[in-house]
Symmetry: C2
Subunit: 398 residues, 2 copies
Amino acid sequence: MSAIEVPDGSPFPLENLPYGVFSPAGRPAGEARVGVAVGDQVLDLAPLLDDDRLASPSLAPLMAQGPAAWREVRSRIRDVLGDRRRRDEVARHLRPQAAVTVHLPVAVGDYVDFYSSRHHAENLGRILRPGTEPLPAAWRHLPIGYHGRAGTVVVSGTPVVRPRGQRRGDDGTPTFGPSARLDIEAEVGFLVGVPSRLGEPVAVEAFDDHVFGVVLVNDWSARDLQAWEYVPLGPFLGKSFATSISAWVLPLEALAPARVPPPPQDPPPLPYLRGGPDAGLDLTLAVELNGEVVSRPPFAGMYWTPAQQLAHLTVNGASVRTGDLFASGTVSGPEPGQRGSFIELTWNGAEPLRLGDGTERGFLADGDAVRLTASAPGEAGATLGLGPVEGTILPARS
Amino acid sequence: MSAIEVPDGSPFPLENLPYGVFSPAGRPAGEARVGVAVGDQVLDLAPLLDDDRLASPSLAPLMAQGPAAWREVRSRIRDVLGDRRRRDEVARHLRPQAAVTVHLPVAVGDYVDFYSSRHHAENLGRILRPGTEPLPAAWRHLPIGYHGRAGTVVVSGTPVVRPRGQRRGDDGTPTFGPSARLDIEAEVGFLVGVPSRLGEPVAVEAFDDHVFGVVLVNDWSARDLQAWEYVPLGPFLGKSFATSISAWVLPLEALAPARVPPPPQDPPPLPYLRGGPDAGLDLTLAVELNGEVVSRPPFAGMYWTPAQQLAHLTVNGASVRTGDLFASGTVSGPEPGQRGSFIELTWNGAEPLRLGDGTERGFLADGDAVRLTASAPGEAGATLGLGPVEGTILPARS
């Protein structure tokens, strides 16, 4: 028996315990502090564990301390929750998730977005550059990525205003207006805890020494803005209006049972991208549009692992900081029902999705609500939930 | 008569007064605080003005307050320095620049780099994509830009370790090693003071309400890494190892006499990029390699102005934060001696520069020291100096 009962089927069983930052509903954001999600509750950690690091409105103090501290804090939480005699004490520090406001778990330093699903990259190549080789020349040699806008990373639940901008007109000159091809990208993100020094690469073996945990990411994308602007410097305004992440950060430690080897890599990567721990993760994502599941992208098939991504992004000597976020890129599997973006699911709008309410979607309509979740195997046969990442589209402002 | 005498020809006359963050040599970085450069001295502002905002190890508290506060603080400094009776008091708060350590003036939020010199964009197009139209299709319709790595923005004087990485080999597969084409990009950067709200664009007219001041920027670039990686998501490791900025931030107010209209724009830009103040700036940069001036790029000829850049980067609703940095892109003029990068100055290494010591350079060698400065017209006929941005190349680590 434990100090708390979690309903069967909850995404947040005792094997999960993701961290987040919350404040009681109706209280000022200045009272925000660290909690863990358990069942449909949030456990207020600082008073329960008498730990000042956790009274912070950010996970950064804990994240910066490294794996030994991460294991120690998680172990203390599990000890308390596993002790039936502490039931009353625990109960005093629980709040219903419905009665708290969640905040961004950490100020994001740099946000890097990769492009590591071969199925996604091939689909996009076929859609956007038909008649040419779908994979860019470097794709199988390095995890292609770019920097996104850290200042517009928002927590799950933040509404997304439809962006306005330039797009190519029929005569090759641009028109201006609300994006007509607003899309999602369902991704898995990794938050750096332990920083590195400028000039010193992080080896592929050091992944677990630096990465604190995992979030789900919705990299909202305005495909029409992106198509007009992206040559030769890459995506910019087509992405920078908002990127949503889950409020709950699953510690890497909890995902030990989900570690899997990545798919074979051919050609073999250069030595700095070889070796290290199995850093593939057996996560299955679910993309919901207005409550209806429209896709189930499998993360285990991603070509490049997060350990390879971190080794690559630092091999030139670039440093990482506590709170840096790097994301996988759109997770898409080989099957049509496993695609992580609408541009793939509807083949650039040519094959609209028919929804249960009888309406069709090429891309997102105003009022649409998108929800990403994921599940993974945890300890003791448990199923761990990640997410949710929720966002509703508001009309463009005039 | 004033409270301090500045030698003739100093880059930092009384009309300049750029802000920076310094600590006395040999003292801990924790003692860092705000100063202004005057002649070859630094004025320790917090005790002189009895102002707590200036006791911070960051310009952020002042920058966030907006133009009225910026004018007020600058006016108080000028009043004190203009009052001969306060000569002894001022002297107590002066330190030789040679006896202080300078720090990054503010933690950089997001770093955006534009591509706004037509001469630079055309040169790069001709060099990298010969036989095709040198300007990308969207170039004359919007200021093309991308996000760089904010966490590796470093202050002038920080050495730069030659980055290692992948580059294209002769057979189309990559090789790995130190960059053989290490370059600079001489740029002008703009630091955001007053933040904006997510979803609310900053109009071109609001430039002076948000931008605090100007720095010089050296956007170090590994051309071989960049050429291999940049399709389709843009520059990444070819840029992210280091970006150097000047320690001294020139307030926009001081540059009022340098405001000039930008060159004519054809075709006329879309309405959101029209109007606003004259935001072109009559700066002349100087690029020195090992003490020898190799180029004098003129900033006044830049096609897109910083006010247009800020309006563009927020038109999709992206917000800006205090400390965000956006840079012009390489400043290159129409003449060969006005090019702001070695890839242009040496036409991708094909026409090496012959230096005064008899050596030649296609790109940077280990031990090379690069120094960027600029000058601009100030009040009362003064010439204002910007910079310096200095950096020396250290050999790649093995």
